[in-house]
Symmetry: D2
Subunit: 259 residues, 4 copies
């Protein structure tokens, strides 16, 4: 019953020497961005600089969405009972599932089906029509399209522009855009939401759909920390948290300084 | 008993308009790094570019440490039972506490005590001696110093160099380095570990100690995702995970290409 | 670096033989109640039958409290995002902290201070006055007293009656009751809530305060499962859960049949 | 976007009146066992006394299994990092999944398929053969049969005896026993493990398979609390927990006193 040996290819640890995928960690520090390091640890190789920037943009896109997402409510609710920060984050992660955040994974699977057909020669438009029909027949909603607040998700537009600039927009992005066009033509327009846009880009970058959920959690953890800090700093313990009663009182709208 | 109104200053959400601390999220995408966005969401303002790079370097420093940390064992152990990725990440976060990861928070509190005295005119060396004596009297170990594997933590050296380059090394870094010197002079040398180095830099950047735990979880989530992917890709379910039996079989040591 | 041996006194496992605290598990099944088994696994010995019944009564007292507690909201909120049942339960456990559920532990510590003085000869009434003054001076609320819904908690009365019947009411119960009397006399009456009553009984039974939190989670897990089953059976995914909008539509009030 | 009303049939809360499924909670305390209360909260009605005892026996059967299960390792591992008790329990729950604990749910689904055929007139033996063939064709292991330590699980035998005494053994138990017999006849004997026995009894009691996972977590929480107490009481923080190095040093084997 003795455990036989096993191996890991992620990180090697020796006294005073930590190597992630073969690179000394201290050499990576200050030389590669966090987005590049995330790509490296997940994929095994460093991305080009353009893809590294795209990774960062996707992380930035997911960093926070105010107090309405159920995961953020879980985080706030744990905080108001006195949970330590790590337990609040864990509670947030536990509320990222099929119906919240999970659309990235489902959408990646959908687009992968479409991308395979595009690569086999079909037009993106025809594939979009086929996928929509298949999902309708199966009684499934299209994952990654539509948003309960946004009729046109500004994060998605921006991400696809960046993906094109990075040379990373491939057949999954094409299928995603063709679905948006087909939905508009059908008279039932739905936007590509940020889950769908990230799904398209991650798919074209070759990421496995199984990791998508984690990518969202990774980025959103930063927002959750801010939400916990605010809950502890501004509110009393054991309050009933009604998201509908929340107003915004932060900095007024402002432009990003040129830099 | 009706819930009275409350407010949040983090993110404003309106149809098709998401603003984090006043900035349109889509404008941040591609223009600020994730490290800058993390600073923004936590602190309310964008950092200068040098501090943004330092944020990224701290995130990179914490991205993974192989299979030995208890949090990573929790993640692997959850994965082998069939837990979905988000539950594996939550299990990892739940294993980041006082004795693992939590040293950042404790060290920030220690260094804050020291920094206040340095700013009041005492020398860093005298303060270091005083803090060490106080902790010894209280029967506490010095948080952020010593490592069960590394006698000299390469991440710490690199981070302090980067902090100096960014002009961000202040009294907390000075006290941390004075403690290292005093420990060496005492004949019981202990390195500043990565927790301690991050603590010193976060403290000098003005972060609240309460957030430190979350900062580590944020970065390490990337490593945990890689560990889960590897567990699912290479191992059978319900195995007994013996970290001592793990060898590294990833890429051979390699140099970061100049870029 | 090899792990040295360690030992556990809880359960011995050999092929086809499972012994909890020395007893064959299959012999316990059907012969001892779950309350007795909980006492056994936590304390190392079987309780008398009266104490066993009291354990069961405490578990029953904590089994559910409708949809208002923050832990139950966490459970429901996780369920609506599509979390599996075990993740919903974990989310519930993560919302049991100092400000919710945690009063049992704090109250046990308070009553332990009082019980020690009663056993040293002071009257329960004098001790109650002293504890109240100490807590007021320290700026702390009295844990285990008061409830945001109940002005007189029916569970507490019943539990203290059962504790007396079981011969298990000792100095902690006496102090708890003396505090209730002193609060009433002070013109600011507060009931002993169920947390406080369980704290008093657990303290007089000799349980460690550190376990109290777990005792509550153990019992409430049953309620959480029922809440998840109902959420999945009756509601749509990704709804906004507003506890204030919830009405009860279960069985009408009914009497327990004599049995 | 206002939340419309919703309803719960589990527990009604009014000032000083808590009713679970219509019964005053304080009347249930001391009059019904915890097993009966669990049945009530989950099913909406009180069970007969015999079924109540059976519920208790199933909870007792699952209360602990030493330090080897991955969920218990998660609990211990969280504890050694300094996690509070509720986080340790949450970590345990997160390690109860398809490959550990989850066999109850899968086995319930398997036995439900078989029970339907038995009720339609087929013999249990024929159904067992058919199910085994179907699972083999599908490349699935039989959930609820076999154990990595026990070749004959004493908990299963006892539980089926108790189920018969309670008049609660129905077609699911019959199919489970027929599978054991068919496995023995096939020359590849596998025991019905405790997951399988509980699955058979829960199925014959009419429980939904979706709840099975929670039932196990409910009972095992008691064991996890004991494991945490022992970890904190006997071990140092941040140790490497090697289950293979653990020996038992609790009470010697002993007989349950007649009572």
């Amino acid at each position: 019953m003795a455990e036989k040996g096993w191996a890991s290819a992620v990180t090697s640890i020796a006294p005073n020497e930590i190597r992630v995928r073969g690179y000394r960690l201290e050499e990576l520090m200050g030389r590669v961005s966090f987005g590049e390091a995330v790509y490296l640890v997940l994929r095994g190789e460093l991305p080009g600089a353009a893809v590294g920037s795209l990774m960062e943009a996707m992380l930035v896109a997911s960093i926070d969405h105010g107090v309405t997402p159920p995961s953020t409510l879980s985080v706030r609710n744990a905080a108001t009972t006195g949970a330590p920060l790590n337990a609040c984050i864990a509670a947030g992660a536990l509320a990222v599932n099929r119906h919240h955040g999970g659309a990235v994974e489902d959408c990646m699977r959908l687009l992968a089906r479409g991308a395979a057909r595009v690569q086999a020669g079909e037009s993106a438009g025809a594939v979009a029509q086929a996928l929509m029909a298949e999902e309708k027949t199966a009684g499934r909603r299209l994952p990654g399209f539509g948003h309960r607040i946004h009729t046109d998700d500004p994060r998605s537009h921006r991400l696809l522009v960046l993906a094109r600039q990075a040379g990373a927009a491939g057949p999954s992005v094409a299928v995603a855009e063709a679905i948006v066009a087909a939905l508009a033509a059908s008279g039932k327009p739905l936007p590509l939401n940020v889950d769908g846009a990230i799904a398209a880009v991650l798919a074209d970058l070759g990421f496995a759909p199984e990791l998508a959920n984690g990518f969202f959690i990774l980025a959103r953890t930063a927002g959750w920390i801010a939400q916990v800090a605010e809950e502890l700093g501004r509110e009393k313990p054991m309050r009933r948290i009604d998201q509908q009663a929340c107003t915004y009182d932060g900095p007024a709208p402002r432009e990003l300084p040129s830099r």
